[in-house]
Subunit: 295 residues, 2 copies
């Protein structure tokens, strides 16, 4: 699916009427106001006839979300043959079918919650796979990083339209390729994982950007996707840093304007641009964290 | 437990060495730096000999977290007699014992993920209880709201120390009473629910403040706790608004400086202060959303 075009392949569509709703209320002066709020709807996921989970999602790209969820839960393997993905919009159901027979009853019983509020993951299993991953050599030029974060922050998005949403962006060099948003940041990550699986995207030369915190879970998912570089405008947790170091992942947080902090895999960073020439974030485009809601 | 003192009963302890860790890395100029990051550790919860879940938490107040989790998952009833809560710090285990025999194997099997990344809740069950709650009449004076948010934003916290953390505050009138933080915002809510259960705190005259978004799950938990007013500096989701209206919860979001937006239960708001006299947030104390990490 590698492209040479400059435009991203998938960007948020803040004008999609299904994704936001106008609601009325009052403001701090008592005046009646109308505002846009993000829509969340249930989506129930089946794998080969077995009900796996019901997720709350904004509802775009249900097929990618379903595939990515199953991959990140280790219920779908990278070499599995997917024979069908059916989405029933009226029933809010998505069914994934694989050539391999599956049975995750046992797995669904034993769940671990991970930090930053989680989806419940069979943990031993997941760590075992995590430890086997070897991330490739790669480079991250600071000139790419600055162009990337500027492009992401200024791109039209549901965040800018209605707030209360998370964003994840798959990038190469200085270009955003796939930009997904969702109420749960794990959904946004999973949609990208599903996209990469469906289109056989090579992870080795990619950069993963998230608006969310760099928790253990975010690090584990990035490593499982095989992407060597993870960037966020938010902060770190101690275990996230520890796992990133263990896996050799380049972990960059608090990336705002010209500033950032790298707490793991620093050797991949190439300082090819004097940060003195980078603009600080303008107030107009400053993201205040994906949880924040100011449009 | 009602208090007449002015000081909050529980505030974050950013100097507790177990809650943050100093780690080294490099900054945007390539210079070596050291920074504080939030610690997340596993805590496995048992209810009467049955393993329920493993949570990732910063680790303070494990007893409140355990009780609150069980309450919010409907595994503990408001009238249950808790015969013991034991925390084993070395094993990272907390055991809650009740006079009533419990068996939640079946319940653990059927999980629904809710938005904003969730803990997996038996959903039908939860909605049934939600629909039975009748929230009391109450008032929220805007002078209280402004004093509250100012007090919360300027109080020493792990957020200010290390970022990447969520906060929830139980308040009465213009005073914060119990301020809990955690990597997962549901943990912070659950710790407050556990505190209220343990100390038989009356919810009717309380205000609940959260740094997180006003999702369906946050609304459901506040309503279940019986608190009539929910305030956040972050934004709304459509379903959160819908559920708040259904339950008659006062829902206030985007509360920053003098501004806020009420999208449900507006009748409880008493405009007793001219917002023109309220200061905008100073840059020094501006919270950028709990996911953000700038210390």
């Amino acid at each position: 699916m590698e492209t040479t075009a400059d435009a991203p392949l998938i960007v948020p569509d803040p004008t999609d009427p299904r994704l936001t709703r106008r609601v009325g209320g009052i403001d701090h002066t008592g005046a009646a106001v109308e505002t846009s709020v993000t829509v969340e709807r249930p989506l129930t996921l089946f794998l080969n006839g077995q009900e796996i989970v019901t997720m709350m999602t904004i509802g775009d790209y249900p097929e990618y979300l379903a595939l990515g969820y199953l991959l990140n839960q280790n219920m779908l393997r990278a070499d599995d043959e997917v024979t069908g993905v059916e989405h029933d919009e009226e029933l809010d159901v998505v069914v994934v079918r694989t050539a391999r027979a599956t049975d995750y009853q046992e797995k669904l019983r034993k769940k671990t919650l991970t930090s930053g509020c989680a989806q419940g993951t069979a943990f031993g299993d997941l760590m075992e796979r995590f430890e086997r991953v070897r991330l490739p050599a790669a480079e991250l030029r600071t000139s790419w990083l600055y162009r990337l974060t500027h492009a992401i922050n200024t791109m039209p998005s549901l965040y800018l339209e209605a707030g209360a949403i998370h964003g994840c962006v798959l990038c190469r060099e200085d270009r955003p390729l796939v930009y997904m948003e969702d109420v749960g940041r794990h959904n946004a990550v999973d949609k990208i994982a599903g996209y990469m699986f469906r289109h056989r995207v090579e992870p080795a030369d990619k950069i993963f950007y998230t608006t969310g915190r760099l928790t253990s879970e975010m690090v584990i998912k990035t490593v499982q996707m095989g992407i060597p570089i993870l960037v966020s405008r938010s902060g770190f947790t101690a275990w996230g840093v520890e796992l990133a170091r263990q896996a050799g992942l380049t972990l960059i947080g608090r990336a705002r304007g010209r500033r950032f902090l790298a707490l793991a895999g620093e050797q991949r960073i190439v300082f090819d641009l004097d940060p003195g020439f980078v603009e600080e974030e303008s107030a107009r485009h400053r993201r205040k964290g994906a949880q924040d809601s100011e449009p």
